[in-house]
């Protein structure tokens, strides 16, 4: 792998940029791999990366039916935070957030991680109590957050309207080391590092069946032929149910559309991420100047990557109330992604009823922030059969009633 550096830019400037190699290879699939990961999004590539980095397993293929990072990795609002209420959630999200801090250096790829601070507005008395509780929980979990008053909210984000009229801002849960990162770059950076370790990233290769023998996985059928494997990791977000059906089990998951949009670019006006969960909208400003806006998910099953217009309307209405300054902004693009929702709004990183098939899914509306931690835990689970970070996130929690209830803790968006 040719390292990216200031020196390399200068060198290439003198030779018409002809010396940049492809960031990752596009090999033909082999007949057999030690490990196959289905899904070359952030979580799948991170799993492959940590298999190689932490355990030296490099005979790995990452199969992707579309293009690399073209699913939810390229469709989210790039927010990174770890201010969760439950211990298990805080542990894995904080692991991810702390890995993000140095990931650009580690991967030698600029992820544009920007720990600009995330604030979750409290706009009802209920939310004030909830976030105070979360701040106390975070203190015990070693996650740096703080409950701040409304004056401090206004100071950190002057364009915000804290007076209401419907929902005046009463305070906020502030995580100073939360922020954003360049979402595509996360997939690209991991892919480049995986390819460098000799792993195969095979795009436009859709898995059409999972082959098992005596309750044990032996390989997958794909649009590019059969490929054998010892272990299989399913990391396909919205399509988890489809893959699970191929393997012969069901998941406690429903797939729904979640939408986001960006505005035309404007001058810098907001250098924090603001989430307003009561009115249902969140916003940050990208480095290009676009306001990046997200809202609520649809309530019905949907695989089409497009959602209902009235949800966009709700989100925009909520944000115009919170940020009157944006009311004349034109929206540039709007899109949808298929998110995999579990009943307790917490992910699944688990063994499955089929031996040597592992599944990482259920990140719902908030998977991007978790990518490094999720890959770390999934890789450990696939190698050792258990992982402290993933211990609470098993499928068995639904049978045993050990929910990690973040739906109540986080309000709506997370």
């Amino acid at each position: 792998m040719k390292r990216y550096s200031a020196f390399a830019i200068v060198r290439e400037a003198f030779r018409q940029h002809t010396g940049w190699p492809r960031a990752w290879a596009s090999p033909e699939p082999r007949e057999r791999y030690d490990v196959i990961i289905v899904g070359a999004g952030g979580h799948g590539l991170a799993t492959a990366y940590y298999l190689g980095r932490n355990f030296g397993i490099t005979n790995v293929a990452v199969l992707e039916k579309g293009w690399l990072g073209g699913g939810n990795t390229g469709r989210n609002t790039t927010i990174i935070r770890s201010n969760y209420l439950q211990d298990a959630s805080a542990a894995i999200y904080e692991k991810a957030r702390s890995l993000y801090e140095t990931l650009s250096q580690e991967l030698n790829f600029n992820l544009m991680f920007s720990p600009r601070g995330v604030m979750m507005l409290a706009q009802t008395e209920h939310e004030v109590r909830g976030y105070r509780r979360t701040a106390e929980a975070n203190a015990l979990q070693g996650v740096e957050t703080e409950f701040i008053g409304r004056e401090r909210v206004k100071e950190l984000c002057p364009i915000i309207n804290i007076e209401g009229p419907r929902y005046p801002v009463l305070g906020a849960l502030w995580q100073p080391r939360g922020g954003t990162a360049r979402h595509d770059a996360v997939a690209w950076g991991y892919a480049r590092a995986c390819s460098d370790m000799g792993m195969h990233i095979i795009q436009r290769c859709e898995v059409t069946g999972i082959r098992t023998e005596g309750g044990r996985v032996t390989g997958v059928s794909t649009t590019r032929g059969d490929i054998g494997c010892n272990k299989l990791g399913i990391v396909v977000a919205g399509h988890s149910g489809v893959l699970a059906q191929m393997a012969g089990f069901r998941l406690p998951i429903e797939s729904v559309a979640l939408q986001a949009m960006v505005s035309e670019p404007v001058k810098p006006c907001m250098d924090v991420v603001v989430m307003a969960n009561t009115v249902h909208g969140y916003m940050s400003q990208s480095d290009k100047g676009e306001m990046v806006i997200g809202g609520g998910a649809d309530g019905f099953n949907n695989y089409t990557q497009r959602g209902s217009f009235h949800h966009i309307e709700e989100t925009v209405r909520a944000l115009c109330e919170t940020f009157p300054i944006i009311s004349r902004l034109k929206m540039l693009r709007q899109w949808g992604g298929i998110v995999d929702m579990t009943g307790d709004r917490s992910p699944i990183i688990s063994k499955t009823p089929v031996e040597n098939i592992f599944i990482n899914c259920g990140w719902g509306t908030g998977g991007f922030k978790a990518i490094p931690g999720s890959g770390w835990a999934m890789a450990e689970l696939m190698v050792k059969g258990e992982s402290p970070l993933a211990a609470e996130f098993g499928l068995n929690r639904f049978r045993e009633g050990r929910f990690i209830d973040e739906s109540v803790a986080a309000g709506v968006a997370h």
């Binding site: 399509h239 149910g241 489809v242 059906q245 069901r250 998941l251 406690p252 998951i253 429903e254 797939s255 309530g299 019905f300 099953n301 949907n302 695989y303 089409t304 209902s308 217009f309 009235h310 579990t342 009943g343 639904f398 049978r399 045993e400």
Partner: protein, 109 residues
Amino acid sequence: MLILHCPYCGVMADETELAPGGEAHLRRAGPESSDEEFMAYLFERENPRGVHFERWRHALGCGKWFHAARDTATLEVFGTYPAQVTEPPEALLETIREKRPGWQWRDLK
């Protein structure tokens, strides 16, 4: 916008006056059921990419619950039918089989 025909009041209802109620025809686990059966009833879902039977409520209309058959991959609506049944009407199933040759619902018994 998703538009469903309410089989009770006859209105072609916009999505904004409907409330989604999730997968239809789940069989309630009884007092003698195992933990696995309760888990399946409470949490596990078909979540198909394709034909899906689901419950809807005409929340801002007549207020009644009803069923709809929809394709989650194309958003095509096959039809709606009343709530007081344990499985979809045969005529509707026939319509779906015509439009989606080879389709079969895994678990209706």
